[in-house]
Point group: D2
Chain length 136, copies 4
């Protein structure tokens, strides 16, 4: 699936201070990570050892909300204020790192946790790369 | 970009009454439409004729929220209750049809509205197809 | 706590076809129900019998998302389209009824489920009352 | 309206490291601010001088999403990780400060902007107070 994130950014009618290709890729990674975390929370709920997975579920729920909100903030460019983008990218990198650690603990037992841990790690990196590009 | 939606669904540990490939494709279309609507609302805000686009912006905001919530509901399978999925798919098809009409009115003037109108039309169809599959 | 929902609606600069007091009360009930469902899902995750509560958690998550999105749709009046409001109120009444039933099953064991069941029942009624007012 | 936030927190079955009364009050302020920002964005869209309000609308949309996500994170206590709560409270204080400034610029012209600016300022303070309590 090719998403519409880049085509939409390319038709935004004003200048954007960041590279649109990197920005679109970051938003796609955030949306994908949010989706993976929502699905992982639900898959954990259906595992026989759900009682061992409650912290994983909770962290997935936080991470899904935070990734989604970060994607929305990065999708808006009107009246751009770098401080909000930066603060959300920092919060998102923190949530993704925590969720990657927690899901990683269950990756051998549960394949969905392994996939989700990788998604969170990739998303953390994308957030940090965009933060670096914003400071560059 | 290949999303993680299908891999996550494929590792869900219990039976799912719907076809996982169709379900994953629908979720991806919903997430993509939500992203397009969020971006279209913001692009409209930055157009010189924003005063002509206020209904378009509002409908985009509704459609983004509804598509996102529908994607989340469809991403959960634990304790599945078809009535909630069906009601959200109905609401989402309604919102997408309205948003496609409204964005379509501005497609000649604004390319982002044209792309978004197509995304909404595709998403409306995907919702109706899944509703049909659920009744089948 | 007196919320700002009614003061905000009272300063909306155009006509609204619905009674602003009923509308604000409905939005407040929706926001409160969303909050209760989010908290109930988390409280269930921390119960020793979490394995018995997985359907309750899942339904709480759906209901929280749907109530929140319905509150947002009802908070927007620019370019009002009754069909979207109606479809979301229908979906929300369905989700609240399901969640009230599910939480109600655990109300004797878990006080948070009892409070949440009442919130969902009140929210379902508020949605149906507003639907009736829209048709009246 | 008395919200259910505190009754729900009081029935959470495990210890919470923060004061439940302060926590519930903060969540209520966040939910109320999110609602005010959603309504202010829509009221701005319906003003004759909408072209002067586009930055205000955008900032309202960011602030609504961020306040809502922060309220959700603070409503979860299972597997508590202070770093996520802290990062979201920081991001939320930043967004609220920016939104209060921007809405404040239009408060004389538009009463909804004035109410929203006050809500954002109160929310920023509540976030900073909770951050202080977490470090205390």
């Amino acid at each position: 699936m090719t998403t519409l994130t880049l085509p939409m950014l390319e038709t935004y009618p004003q200048p954007i201070s960041l590279d649109r290709v990197q920005l679109a890729a970051t938003i796609d990674i955030l949306d994908d990570c949010a989706e993976a975390c929502t699905a992982c929370a639900d898959a954990c709920l259906s595992e026989p050892d759900v009682a061992e997975l409650t912290k994983c579920i909770r962290t997935n729920l936080d991470c899904a909300d935070i990734c989604h909100t970060t994607a929305r903030v990065l999708s808006r460019h009107t009246g751009y204020d770098a401080s909000i983008s930066r603060a959300m990218l920092e919060a998102c990198a923190t949530a993704c790192a925590t969720c990657a650690d927690e899901c990683g603990r269950h990756a051998e037992m549960h394949e969905h946790c392994g996939i989700c841990a990788e998604a969170c790690r990739a998303c953390e990196q994308a957030c940090r790369d965009l933060l670096a590009a914003m400071s560059g």
